[in-house]
């Protein structure tokens, strides 16, 4: 009788479903996975080490590049850790702006996730639909920070600047007819808040549209129900957080349980799954899209009525205004010191966590009193999720590996750091 052998399949790092640079070494028996060994680190940029060599403020843009589909949430985790270390109280308006942009980021991330997840499972239309909506939200990013993705908008003590009064519009060009451009500009006539409000009004309908494509689709259900099931006990053991934990039926959300920014004033619900499979996690995230829209709407209402400063007036931490810097000696000195040396938090350590779209994103900062972090440790949710890969795919088929990678919402920027 011939010898029957398992064979290994090298999945990635150049694989369309590897979500970047995941290398999976799969030990397979036919189509069935016996063991999965993820090799990571192909995108390792030593962000934490780089941060040790730079003043605190310089590392904020690095945070965008960690989980590069939920940029502002990463910044939020970092600046929160520093604010705790420095003992800074953030102005209330900044807190609401942060809350709003955290939720916009969550929508951005989940749109990206559902698009790629569906694409992995074979429904490619979803991807293009979600990117249509991402476009609008990235425009909000651009309006507020000047950059579509890597915003670097949050600062220690607030945000870089107040929301713009005018929403940028499309210009007339030769590629589209004027009528089309006018139609695109219809929602952009007012302020950024008007634009976001308009988005909030139509977005729930669009989520319904996505759901008609997938939620009751038999093939989608066959591909996701009962795949990658994780029990609540195992979810704890494996260090899951965010939707991965909630999909397993645990109602844990930092926004509710350890509220930060303005979440304590927000009215929203936490969706929770039952079975802990890919389908439940899908439903949880779809509902989060709706809940995030609710939060954004509440923030818009508040921000309309409450103008105020968006960053602390302590010029040891936040730069003075341009005119102050040009006209006053003190302002000039502050500006110079801040941009050449930065600020020195007292020796100590702080860990701050935010509920990033993928789970708990935490920053652990150790300061020895210098103007650079002594050690910065980034706790990326995807790292813990990916480490459960072996357990989640064991006994499933090759096609399910792809579904599980999709459901984990993996982004290598944050896993490899």
């Amino acid at each position: 009788m011939p010898e029957i052998r398992n064979y290994t399949l090298n999945f990635g790092p150049q694989h369309p479903a590897a979500h970047g640079v995941l290398r999976l070494v799969l030990e397979m028996d036919g189509e069935v996975i016996e063991r999965a060994d993820p090799h990571i680190g192909l995108l390792h940029r030593a962000t934490e080490k780089l941060a040790e060599s730079k003043p605190y403020n310089h590392s904020i843009p690095y945070m965008d590049r960690l989980d590069y589909v939920s940029m502002m949430c990463n910044e939020h985790g970092y600046v929160m850790a520093l604010e705790r270390l420095l003992g800074v109280d953030v102005p209330e308006r900044a807190l609401y702006i942060r809350t709003m942009f955290d939720e916009i980021t969550r929508i951005l991330n989940h749109l990206m996730w559902i698009g790629t997840h569906a694409l992995d499972v074979g429904a490619m239309t979803m991807f293009l639909y979600t990117f249509r909506e991402r476009e609008d939200l990235l425009d909000c990013y651009e309006a507020v920070s000047g950059a579509r993705m890597h915003a670097a908008y949050y600062r220690v003590g607030g945000v870089y600047r107040d929301l713009p009064e005018v929403m940028p519009r499309y210009e007339k060009n030769q590629f589209r007819s004027d009528k089309e451009i006018d139609k695109k500009n219809e929602a952009r006539q007012g302020t950024l808040l008007d634009f976001i409000e308009d988005f909030c009004r139509r977005f729930p309908g669009l989520v319904d549209e996505y759901e008609t494509l997938l939620t009751d689709n038999r093939i989608w259900k066959q591909r996701t129900v009962g795949i990658g099931t994780v029990s609540p006990e195992r979810a704890f053991q494996l260090g899951f957080s965010g939707p991965m934990l909630r999909g397993s039926g645990i109602a844990w959300d930092l926004r509710k349980k350890q509220p930060y920014a303005a979440y304590a004033q927000m009215d929203f619900d936490i969706p929770v799954g039952q079975n802990g499979d890919c389908y439940d996690r899908y439903l949880v995230r779809m509902e989060e899209l709706r809940q995030s829209t609710r939060i954004v709407q509440q923030c818009v209402d508040w921000l309309r009525q409450n103008p105020g400063p968006v960053i602390v007036s302590d010029h040891k931490i936040a730069p003075p205004s341009r005119s102050e810097m040009k006209e006053g000696m003190e302002g000039l000195i502050h500006h110079f010191k801040l941009f050449t040396e930065g600020y020195c938090p007292p020796p100590g350590e702080a860990y701050a966590a935010v509920e990033a779209p993928k789970g708990e994103f935490g920053c652990y900062v150790i300061s020895d009193g210098a103007n650079k972090p002594y050690r910065l440790k980034i706790r990326a949710p995807g790292f813990a999720h990916l480490s459960a890969m072996d357990e989640m795919v064991k006994g499933h088929m090759l096609a399910d590996v792809v579904a599980v990678i999709g459901t984990m919402d993996i982004v290598f920027g944050e896993i490899d750091r």
């Binding site: 080490k49 003043p55 310089h58 705790r84 260090g239 860990y351 009193g369 650079k372 790292f383 490899d416």
Partner: protein, 238 residues
């Protein structure tokens, strides 16, 4: 956060601190509450025992290990900016790489961040490890998620975890030499890689770029933060 919730979480933290102090007494244990965060220092021989206790004891219930972080304390509290030497063009900026390690303190630490979902509280556990034998017992039997975090700490700091099933490098390249997050490891690394046309393959060579310090590390003794002592505090109770 509204005031009552804030109060409640403060009370929870203080109760937890009391419980920790009650439960973990003896040599090497220390606990502190700073910036609203609890830290427990554990002697390294007892980490597994303590971890099990923290997970299973009714008063703690830390079901989740959030993070494991390695720290290299060898240059803690050392400023790059030495302005003692003045020349006729001005002050010399001492921005050379910092050397040496302080002997009085243990060099490495492993920091565990724990989360209790049932009691909604967090705890930081720190274990100090010396330079000669950087080895701790693995907690992967208690929290499975520790597996990869310990691999990471091993990879980046060279801290060994006894009893770990699969202690391989995780983030660095295959065949990487050294532990890049140790303070003496240069920021730009040791080797660089290029494709050699003559030999028709990729070759590794010592780095050619030089390390520049754009902004020197400087420690300011700030009156606002001074609480009695201006000395950098011992990280153990920081």
């Amino acid at each position: 956060m509204n005031e009552s919730a804030k109060k409640a979480s403060e009370i929870r933290r203080e109760t937890l601190l009391e419980n920790l102090n009650k439960r973990f007494t003896g040599d090497g244990f220390a606990s502190s509450l700073r910036l609203g965060e609890l830290t427990l220092v554990v002697p390294r021989e007892r980490i597994v025992e303590v971890a099990g206790e923290l997970r299973d004891n009714e008063a703690f219930q830390f079901e989740q290990l959030i993070d494991i972080c390695g720290v290299d304390y060898s240059q803690y509290g050392r400023s790059e900016w030495t302005t003692d030497t003045a020349s006729f063009t001005g002050f010399g900026r001492g921005v050379g790489a910092m050397q040496g390690s302080s002997a009085e303190m243990q060099r490495f630490a492993v920091v565990y961040h724990l989360l209790s979902v049932s009691l909604n509280q967090r705890l930081r556990v720190r274990v100090f490890v010396d330079d000669q034998h950087p080895m701790v017992d693995s907690v992967s039997g208690i929290w499975n998620s520790a597996g990869w975090y310990e691999r990471e700490a091993f990879d980046l700091f060279g801290i060994l975890f006894a009893g770990h099933q699969d202690l391989r490098r995780i983030l660095t390249d295959y065949g990487f030499i050294g532990h890049p997050f140790r303070k003496e490891f240069p920021l730009h690394g040791q080797v660089e890689m290029r494709y050699d046309m003559d030999r028709q393959r990729v070759v590794y060579e010592p780095v050619t770029i030089e390390l520049r310090t754009l902004v020197p590390k400087v420690i300011r003794e700030d009156n606002r933060y001074a609480e009695g002592s201006n000395k950098p505090q011992d990280p153990a109770d920081a």
